[in-house]
């Protein structure tokens, strides 16, 4: 019966989201929700286009990926192919340390350290203000590095040594073995790791709430402040919305969008992991 609880939880999430979501969409058309470009649900003249929230989520996730994929992959290659066991025993827990830091702390770091730094180093266009997408994205990327690195390294370690030996016997250098044999062989696992990183980035709340600001803004300029889906939900939830009000329902509408999005991403990653396990019967 305990296990059934987990099923119950999923059902509960779906159900709890569904009710208010449906009534929300009854009042505000689906069309406007998904195509409208202005998100101002709590204003007197409420507008309900969710695109600004989605674009913010996408942009910040993109920045995070631009940081965490190279750093994560290169770290994984180093750990798996180049480092000695003693070094690895020291580095892997270090990466885990990064993973254990609470997101609110990362938010603090983004706001008080990265933002001013970026303002000083910004090279093109207007320097970003205190709240901007770039510092949130960069710090989020750093937060996700352990996830990507650890899972990629597992995937690479699973590549049989016989393949590496075959490549070495053909006169390959370590670099060539790593890039031409190991990474392609571990590719499904690596992609699964990245997809998991995406799902974490999309669902992350505190960093963006603190560092990216609370103004919905349909923009792809990383120097701008903007509000993601998660940040909106948090902001709306902090203020007490009367039950049943449209404001209250927006929480659920955006929440549903978020839930469905991450569910899809997660299902893709599970399929990929299964596929990479099949390659080595």
């Amino acid at each position: 019966m305990c296990a059934v609880l987990s099923v119950a939880t999923t059902l509960a999430i779906v159900v709890s989201l569904l009710g208010p979501t449906l009534s929300f969409f009854r009042e505000v058309g689906l069309f406007e929700f998904f195509t409208g470009k202005v998100w101002a649900p709590l204003f007197a003249q409420a507008r309900f286009g969710v695109l600004p929230l989605i674009s913010a989520t996408v942009l910040i996730t993109g920045i995070a990926l631009a940081v965490c994929i190279p750093v994560g992959l290169l770290s994984a290659v180093f750990l798996s192919e180049y480092s000695r066991p003693r070094v690895r025993a020291f580095l892997k827990p270090g990466l885990e340390l990064l993973a254990g830091i609470p997101t609110v702390v990362y938010g603090f770091f983004a706001l008080t350290f990265v933002s001013p730094l970026l303002a000083k180093l910004w090279l093109f266009g207007e320097p970003p203000g205190i709240f901007n997408a770039a510092s949130a994205g960069i710090v989020m990327g750093i937060m996700i590095v352990p996830t990507v690195a650890s899972l990629s390294e597992d995937a690479m370690a699973a590549v049989p040594q016989a393949l590496r030996n075959g490549a070495y016997a053909l006169g390959s250098s370590r670099l060539q073995v790593s890039t031409r044999v190991v990474i392609p062989a571990a590719l499904s696992g690596i992609v699964a790791a990245v997809v998991l990183g995406i799902s974490r980035a999309v669902g992350e709340t505190m960093i963006v709430l603190i560092a990216a600001g609370g103004t919905p803004n349909l923009s792809f300029n990383p120097a701008d402040a903007m509000q993601t889906m998660t940040a909106f939900i948090a902001a709306a939830g902090i203020g007490d919305q009367p039950i049943g009000s449209v404001g209250y329902q927006t929480i659920f509408a955006v929440g549903s969008t978020l839930f469905v999005g991450t569910l899809l991403v997660n299902l893709i990653s599970i399929r990929l992991v299964r596929k990479y396990r099949e390659v080595y019967e």
Partner: protein, 300 residues
């Protein structure tokens, strides 16, 4: 087309003869790898240093003894610290039995080919990937306002967090139980013990270190969570220690968030100090988990 180097008589080709391009490529790759690691390490160090330096002026007893106030010089985190203790304690009580029960069921009793069991497994994996704030929405809808009407209380917050970390406990416990070799189970059953006796007397005791480690990791995740609790009303101005499960509350991460959102610089210092406290607690918990794992890990 003969490959350029392979002329058997040309022995000089055995010597180091990398073209410039290759050398640059190799050096570039190596520096990229080390650079990545360095970046991650630097970020970690910068974060810790910055937090510590910023927060050190206020790292004193006031933090523990005073309650939040709109005057930074008089503010402390007493309510948040005790709130955290209350909430995490309750989480431990609720999610460990449930998680363990689920793990035992899945590993020992469930037939792996039944569709409903596989559904449960997939389900748990999905739940582990759901954004934390969605759990907050769930808590809001069901526990605070909805059917259970618990209000903005410690119990509501703890239950929500329990649901959040339940997958972690289940997965870790399953691994621990799975690691106990089947031969031990068989031996116990062959001596006439029932399945439950086998589990309670043989399997579980051997799996305790793994289960404990998993629990500690789950709890340390729960301590750092802020997003779901935002939706549950933990961000209100709480100036008292929780009086019971039905009491309003706040937790350390939320208090940190609160202080970060204030404009005055003094509050930044307070936030950093509170972060140091939080990180120390986390470090201690993770250290405990690692120690447990190393000390009691049995190699079968």
């Amino acid at each position: 087309m003969t490959p350029p180097d392979a002329s058997p008589g040309d022995l000089s080709s055995l010597q180091r003869r990398r073209s410039v391009a290759t050398t640059i490529r190799e050096a570039g790759f190596k520096s990229a790898m080390l650079g990545s690691l360095l970046l991650a390490a630097t970020a970690l160090v910068a974060l810790m240093v910055q937090v510590f330096v910023t927060g050190s002026p206020r790292l004193n007893g006031d933090l523990l003894n005073r309650f939040p106030s709109s005057l930074p010089s008089r503010a402390g985190a007493r309510s948040a610290i005790f709130g955290t203790i209350w909430v995490i304690g309750t989480v431990a009580f609720t999610c460990v039995p449930v998680g363990l029960g689920a793990a035992i069921y899945l590993e020992e009793y469930a037939a792996k080919d039944r569709w409903y069991n596989r559904l449960i497994e997939v389900n748990i994996q999905n739940l582990a990937a759901v954004p934390s704030i969605v759990y907050g929405i769930l808590g809001l809808a069901f526990l605070v306002r909805g059917p259970l009407k618990l209000g903005q209380t410690v119990l509501a917050g703890a239950l929500t967090l329990s649901l959040l970390v339940l997958p972690i406990v289940i997965i870790a416990s399953r691994e621990a139980i799975r690691a106990v070799p089947g031969s031990i189970r068989l031996a116990s059953l062959a001596l006439g013990a029932t399945q439950w006796q086998t589990i309670s007397r043989q399997v579980l005791p051997s799996a305790v270190p793994g289960i404990a480690t998993g629990t500690i990791l789950a709890l340390s995740r729960a301590i750092g969570e802020a997003a779901p609790l935002l939706l549950l009303g933990a961000l209100t101005f709480i100036t008292f220690v929780p009086e019971g499960l039905a009491s309003p509350f706040t937790v350390l991460p939320i208090q940190i968030f609160n202080w970060i959102s204030r404009p005055q610089d003094e509050f930044r210092v307070l936030a950093a100090a509170a972060i140091v406290v939080l990180m120390v607690i986390l470090l201690a918990m993770n250290g405990l988990a690692i120690w447990l794992r190393n000390r009691f890990q049995r190699k079968w």
